[in-house]
């Protein structure tokens, strides 16, 4: 906050990316000599604010998941017949034995899809770099790769859902099912939204309209995309790896 407070201001019109042409700084030099205006892009600022708000959203979802899972396991181990009945008998036995829901996960598989999503962050940032350098071909390649990797991740997600479902974890029957599908489903919805944006960019690129003057658009989509990736980093560790 203080940094903001100290930076003298600027941006007169609302055209966000007017980064540097903002009337420079108006003095104020209390803090380590950063003479600046807030010469930020409105859109980028808005995106970061939005991502900040998403932190609270996913925080709540992850917390809900952890809490629900803990309650589910506790009751299962205690022998609550209604909870035991909420999943197939074989699974219940496994869970009780392990004291966690670990047995249902296919860690190698999920590690793979986590890797894929991480990879897509790389391609995303390369796409941004390409577009800011007006490298049309690379732009298309990397955008396409990102969308593809994202879609692969989603395919994996769908596959995992079907596996879970076949194992007998249903959305409506057990607390664990509700929590798991909601958390990962929400993340999946975010990925899907990102893929749609990437495809739109790709269309633009193919119509020759994605040049370096649009680099910020790509960067914004990228920010969103990386954020969704980060969320998965959290989910992967907290949900899958830590029992």
């Amino acid at each position: 906050m203080t940094d903001i407070a100290d930076s003298a201001t600027d941006v007169v019109d609302d055209v966000a990316s007017a980064d540097d042409h903002a009337p420079a700084d108006h003095g104020h030099d209390d803090h380590g000599g950063h003479h600046t205006s807030l010469g930020l892009s409105n859109m980028k600022l808005a995106m970061w604010l939005f991502l900040g708000s998403e932190c609270l959203l996913f925080g709540a979802l992850i917390s809900t998941f952890l809490l629900s899972k803990a309650r589910f396991i506790t009751e299962l181990v205690a022998g609550n017949p209604r909870v035991i009945e909420s999943i197939p008998a074989g699974l219940a036995e496994e869970f009780i034995e392990a004291g966690t829901v670990e047995p249902i996960y296919d860690i190698p598989f999920t590690s793979g899809s986590s890797f894929i999503l991480l990879m897509s962050s790389l391609t995303m940032v390369l796409a941004h770099k390409a577009v800011s350098e007006d490298d049309d071909l690379q732009t298309k390649i990397w955008l396409g790769a990102t969308a593809l990797l994202g879609s692969t991740f989603m395919a994996g997600q769908v596959y995992e859902f079907t596996v879970f479902y076949r194992e007998g974890i249903e959305y409506g029957t057990s607390l664990y099912g509700s929590a798991f599908y909601t958390l990962t489903g929400f993340h999946g919805a975010h990925v899907t939204g990102g893929i749609l944006m990437l495809l739109s960019l790709l269309v633009l690129a193919f119509r020759g309209k994605l040049k370096s003057n649009r680099a910020e658009t790509v960067e914004l989509v990228g920010l969103y995309w990386h954020f969704v990736d980060i969320v998965w980093v959290l989910i992967f560790t907290i949900v899958y790896l830590i029992p």
């Binding site: 506790t74 181990v77 205690a78 022998g79 017949p81």
Partner: protein
């Protein structure tokens, strides 16, 4: 009832003068209007409620509030009046001194309230932990179960805890508490509803939960409130200095008839309490009087799908007995119904007579145990009488008397509220009520 309203004080006694100091105008109004208010938080009748009361007075909270209130209110009004100018004749160039602020002042009025609050919070935190102190081993524990819209109480009479070994692992442990209520509960315990009878002068510990939604258990003159949350066990406690009736109200919004979910605590002296408890442990008798016997017959046909009367004879529906052996599930246990002065969430009185208004606290604890005997003479206006008319209305059409969902779960055959019984004739109703009157 006991008319001596002595206060037990846990902190340094206040002099009369300082008590009467009119610092907090509101507080005065409150204590001045304190009569005839059965729920009044300013009339503590037990040490817990007293310590809450003291917290506000002895640690000076009300006074601090009063002082800040007076300063800001009268300070604000005073400044506004003193400094006002007439806009019609005011010369805009006649500016006051343009002060911009004063660091010393700012620091002062940041630190001063902080210090005051820090001091107060010491008292508060101490009281918070005091409230959690459990009673001595061997003193009474009662389980309180809220449900829409009445309270069930279980007394751990035999001292073997409230739970059974529900998961069959050979020990009664915390895991059993995780089990659904009707599986985990110990069927040996005494089960009553609506009115909690406790020994006076003894700290009774409560363990609270709920069968459906969140309720809150509150007897204002004995202690603050605590929520009963389904799936959780909370602890709380009550202690009454003197025998008497202390009314309360469910204070967490719990749906349709939340306003009709009341309750009371009847504190008895030790001997009377023991007598009461001994009586509650008895089974009900199968009545010999023909009218009551006919009533019992009707009850066996119509009512045992929900209610329990433990007389060793009733046959309960199969699934009922499986899950809830002789324990009320969805409806109050009526085994000793006639020993209760109120019913249906404490909104109706089972007896008419002096002090039996369900919302009043005037019922004399010394007659409580004998209500059913005192009610023998139906004609004397000063005497206690079985409130037949009201009970008949209740049995005939409970949802008409108290808003409730009265549906039956097709899977379990258990209802969520009481059904209306339009099929019962007036005579049959008389018989049922006569039967209920024998349940003492």
């Amino acid at each position: 009832m006991s008319t001596t309203k002595t206060r037990k004080r846990s902190f340094m006694p206040r002099t009369f003068v300082s008590r009467a100091l009119p610092v907090a105008g509101a507080a005065l109004v409150l204590s001045a209007c304190a009569d005839d208010k059965p729920l009044n938080t300013f009339e503590p009748r037990g040490p817990r409620a007293q310590s809450l009361y003291d917290l506000m007075f002895d640690s000076g909270t009300w006074y601090v509030m009063g002082i800040v209130f007076v300063l800001v209110t009268f300070g604000g009004i005073f400044v506004a009046i003193k400094n006002r100018v007439d806009p019609a004749t005011y010369d805009p160039e006649d500016l006051p001194v343009q002060t911009h602020g004063n660091i010393t002042l700012e620091v002062a009025w940041t630190i001063l309230p902080a210090v005051v609050l820090a001091i107060i919070s010491v008292f508060v935190v101490r009281t918070i932990f005091e409230l959690e102190e459990p009673n001595e081993p061997g003193e009474l524990d009662v389980m309180v179960i809220g449900q829409q819209w009445w309270w069930e109480y279980r007394y751990d009479v035999d001292g073997d805890g409230f739970f059974t070994d529900g998961n069959g692992d050979g020990v009664v442990d915390e895991a059993d508490q995780e089990l659904p209520l009707e599986i985990a509960l110990d069927p040996d315990d005494v089960v009553t509803a609506t009115e909690m009878v406790i020994p006076a002068g003894e700290q009774v510990d409560l363990i609270l939960t709920s069968r459906d939604v969140i309720h809150s258990f509150w007897i204002p003159r004995l202690n603050g409130k605590r929520d009963t949350v389904p799936g959780r066990w909370h602890t709380w406690s009550l202690e009454a200095d003197e025998p008497g009736k202390y009314t309360g109200w469910c204070t967490e919004y719990c749906g349709l008839s939340h306003a009709r979910m009341r309750m009371s605590v009847i504190a008895l002296d030790d001997a009377e309490f023991d007598a009461w408890l001994a009586n509650q442990q008895q089974q009900a008798e199968v009545p010999s009087d023909p009218e009551a016997a006919a009533g019992r017959e009707i009850f066996a046909n119509q009512c045992v799908s929900c209610h329990v009367i433990d007389d060793g004879e009733f046959e309960y529906p199969e699934n009922f007995a499986e899950t809830v052996p002789l324990v009320s599930h969805a409806a109050p246990n009526l085994t000793h119904f006639a020993t209760r002065s109120t019913y249906a969430g404490g909104i109706f009185g089972s007896y008419a007579g002096p002090g039996t208004d369900p919302d009043d606290d005037a019922l004399d604890a010394s007659v409580y145990n004998q209500l059913s005997e005192l009610s023998q003479n139906p004609d004397s206006p000063d005497d206690y009488r079985w409130n037949t008319a009201e009970l008949k209305r209740w049995v005939a059409n409970a949802p008409g008397q108290k808003a409730m969902a009265s549906d039956v779960n097709p899977d379990t055959g258990l209802g969520r509220g009481m059904l209306p019984f339009p099929q019962l004739t007036d005579e049959e109703l008389d018989q049922v009520v006569a039967y209920l009157a024998t349940l003492d």
